[in-house]
Every structure is written in structure tokens, then in C-alpha cells.
């Protein structure tokens, strides 16, 4: 499969570039190499949420049973989103300790990822409460869509509640990445590699879900 081959090319390239090609940043030093793992993980946690939302919408809008596997897709995407959000939080906290002196500072990005984790945690709590109920797919899809509706409001609110400590080169008002060309290229390759890895893992999880469903159907027969 093409995506598998691309993951096997891009992931080692991203790791090698992060450690051997990209120079250490002027003030941040060698710790700046965390950028090539922390930023893609945070990006995937948000992308996974968006993919979950779109899959949930397709699942609910599907009256002709064209997207029968969407329930597995949005659930698996949420699982991957939770994992990457935890990893992004952990890698960000380590970096924050090194740069700002404490693991947690309620910076807007830290706050946003906590909210995302809260949404994921609420989603999984709801899903456990609906175990064995036929409406489980529809209700959890509806919850994902409602949470997704509330998300743009966070973008408006959070920066007004908490001042930002995040470095200006990546997150700034003019929406441009102010990095050296080697660092920018490494970050780009890393984001592409991690995005491909996300779709690759999602496909594997979806395949596992299909096998599990088939085994359950056989078991009931």
C-alpha cells in the first residue's frame, strides 16, 4: 500500500533530519530538537479530532448505508487523537520545564490541549456508559459533533483568558514560521511524516475493528 511505503520513507527521514540535519536553535540549544516531535504530535491530536468530527457527520448523515464503517473510523481516530494529545502534552511539559522552569504554566496552547483531552475523556466515558446499546454509535457521534461546535469558541476565548508563553517563531500573529530554512524544512517533513503515520495507524485500527466485528458476527451465528 502506498501510505505504508511513504511512512517507511518519511518517518526515518524526519528522525534523521531532526537529529543530524537541522541546526540547534540559537537560544533554545539542543532542546529545540523537541520541536520536530512536539509540534507534529500536537497537530495530529487536533487533526484526529477534526477527522473524528467529519467521520461522525458522515456516519449520521448516511441514510443509504454507504459509509457503514464510519463508526469505527471516528472512534479509532479519537483513540489516536487521545494518544497523540497525551504525548504532545508530555513532550511540551518537558520542554516547558527546560525553558520556562515549570512543567505547567496554563499557557493558551497548554490550556487548549487540556480541553481537547477533557473532550476525549468525556467521549470515552460516554462510550463506556453506552456499552452494548444499539444507539451507541449515533449518540457518541452526536457528542463529537457538539464538542466540535464548541471548539471554535475556545479559539476566541482561551488567548483572552491566559497570556501566551509559546515562542514567537512558530506561533505568531502574522501566521508565518520564522525559522531557519533547514529547521523549517525539517519541521515540514516531520509534520508530513507524522500525518502519514496517523493515517497508517488509523487504517490498521480500522482493519482490526473490521476483523473484530466479523468475528463477533460469526460468534453470534
Amino acid at each position: 500500500m502506498l501510505i505504508t511505503r511513504l511512512v517507511y520513507i518519511f518517518m526515518p527521514t524526519a528522525v534523521i533530519m531532526a537529529f543530524c540535519y537541522a541546526p540547534a536553535a540559537a537560544v533554545l540549544g539542543e532542546t529545540s530538537r523537541l520541536l520536530y516531535f512536539h509540534v507534529p504530535l500536537a497537530w495530529i491530536s487536533v487533526m484526529a479530532f477534526a477527522v473524528s468530527g467529519v467521520a461522525a457527520m458522515l456516519f449520521l448523515a448516511d441514510k443509504k448505508s454507504r459509509f457503514t464503517r464510519m463508526e469505527d473510523s471516528f472512534h479509532n481516530s479519537a483513540s489516536l487523537g487521545t494518544l497523540t494529545a497525551v504525548l504532545a502534552t508530555a513532550s511540551g511539559s518537558v520542554w516547558a520545564k527546560l525553558m520556562w522552569g515549570s512543567y505547567w504554566n496554563w499557557d493558551p496552547r497548554q490550556t487548549s490541549i487540556v480541553i481537547l483531552l477533557l473532550i476525549y475523556s468525556a467521549y470515552f466515558s460516554l462510550r463506556s456508559a453506552l456499552e452494548g446499546k444499539p444507539a451507541r454509535g449515533r449518540l457518541s457521534a452526536a457528542y463529537i459533533i457538539i464538542a466540535m461546535t464548541a471548539m471554535p469558541f475556545f479559539v476566541f476565548v482561551v488567548p483572552r483568558v491566559f497570556p501566551s508563553l509559546h515562542p514567537d517563531p512558530v506561533i505568531n500573529p502574522d501566521m508565518k514560521i520564522h525559522l531557519e530554512i533547514e529547521m523549517k524544512l525539517t519541521l515540514l517533513i516531520s509534520v508530513v511524516a507524522f500525518s502519514l503515520l496517523y493515517f497508517y495507524l488509523l487504517e490498521i485500527l480500522n482493519r482490526l475493528s473490521r476483523i473484530r466485528n466479523a468475528v463477533e458476527v460469526q460468534h453470534h451465528e
Partner: protein
């Protein structure tokens, strides 16, 4: 459709008037927490930010006790099936939303004077305070109604409603706290109120679209 909405609203208010469960529980909870804060504060005058935070925490958790009841009652008493058969989903949602807005407005109307009285709040801009409380309450009711329907279908389990509501209600809660703090300090800015009304509108619109999927049995 209009008749179905009106008859559902009348039914919900009649049942609530007989048992007064949702309002009684929410008001008792609100009164206890307000008194507990006042007692433990020991007469100390709190800052406007702390006052606004405590006020909305009381209102949020009091509302969480009452707002889910409108749907869980239908499931517990076995009347949900009849409601599905006799009324269109949109009419049920509209009636339940109206009922929940009324419940949270009653809770806010009781908590606000209690809170101002027991915590010695000096309201410099009372009209801005009232606008912030009304808009914030509307935003909580708008988001909580559809989530109450989901929780009722999940068996109405204990704290699940608070767990799934909190991440969704967090933006209006933040803004309502900011608007309340500003009103206590004397500001009459309407930015927060407009945000809360926009949030309510967005959540109600999405809820209308989703409610059929949540409510109807397959």
C-alpha cells in the same frame, strides 16, 4: 407542530409543578453551597474575580442537578416511547429547551440575590450583571439540553452529565465569569453577552439538527 410544542411545554411544567423535583433539588443545592461559601469565608470581602468565579461555579453545578432531569424522567417513568410516537422530535426538543431555560432562569433568579446578600457583593452595574447572568444561563441551558438527551439514553448515570457537559460549557462559563467580574467592577461592556448569545445560537442550531438522531429509536 406548534400545538405539539405547546402541549409538551404545558406537560413538562405541570409535572414539575406537581413534584417540583428539578427546581427543588437545584435550589437546595444552590442555597447550601452559597451559605457554605459565606460561612467559610467568615465575612471576608472577596475580590470581584473570586466572587464571579464562585457565583458561576454554584450556578453551573446547581443547574447540572436540575437540567438533566427533563429527559431522564421520561426514560425512568417509561414515557419516552409515548413521546417519540406522539410528538415530532423538533417539538420535543423545543419544549425541553424552553423548560430548561425556565429552570435555569429560576435558579439564577434565586441564587443572584442570595449571593449578593450573603457575600456582600457591591454591584456597581446591576443591569450589566443581570445581562451577563441571563446570557450565561441561556448558554448553559442551550448546551446542556441536548447533552441531557444523550445522558438519558445512556441510562442517566450519576455524574456522566457533568463529565460530558463540562468541556462543552467551558467557553461560555469563562466568558460569563469575565462578564460578571466586569459588571461587579462597574463595566457595562456588551462583548461577553454577545459572545454568549452567539454560542447559544450555534449550539441550539446544531442541537436541532442532531436531536432526531439522538431521540429516535431505530
Amino acid at each position: 407542530m406548534l400545538n405539539a410544542i405547546i402541549s409538551n411545554i404545558v406537560k413538562d411544567f405541570r409535572i414539575e409543578f406537581r413534584s417540583r423535583f428539578a427546581v427543588n433539588i437545584a435550589l437546595s443545592f444552590a442555597a447550601i453551597t452559597t451559605l457554605a461559601i459565606s460561612l467559610t469565608a467568615g465575612g471576608v470581602r472577596l475580590g470581584s474575580q473570586t466572587q464571579a468565579m464562585l457565583f458561576w461555579i454554584i450556578l453551573f453545578f446547581s443547574a447540572m442537578n436540575g437540567l438533566a432531569h427533563v429527559f431522564t424522567r421520561e426514560e425512568e417513568e417509561g414515557t419516552a416511547l409515548f413521546l417519540r410516537v406522539t410528538s415530532p422530535a423538533a417539538a420535543v426538543y423545543t419544549a425541553k429547551l424552553t423548560f430548561n431555560i425556565a429552570v435555569i432562569f429560576i435558579i439564577a433568579a434565586v441564587i443572584s440575590p442570595l449571593y449578593v446578600f450573603f457575600l456582600n457583593v457591591d454591584l456597581v452595574a446591576p443591569s450589566a450583571f443581570a445581562a451577563a447572568v441571563c446570557a450565561g444561563s441561556l448558554a448553559i441551558a442551550s448546551s446542556a439540553t441536548v447533552l441531557a438527551a444523550i445522558v438519558a439514553r445512556a441510562g442517566g448515570r450519576g455524574s456522566l452529565f457533568t463529565i460530558i457537559s463540562f468541556p462543552v460549557v467551558l467557553p461560555p462559563l469563562w466568558v460569563a465569569i469575565g462578564a460578571t467580574r466586569a459588571s461587579i467592577s462597574g463595566s457595562t461592556s456588551t462583548e461577553g453577552v454577545i459572545f454568549l448569545l452567539a454560542f447559544s445560537g450555534a449550539l441550539v442550531a446544531v442541537s436541532y439538527m442532531l436531536f432526531g438522531h439522538i431521540w429516535i429509536e431505530e
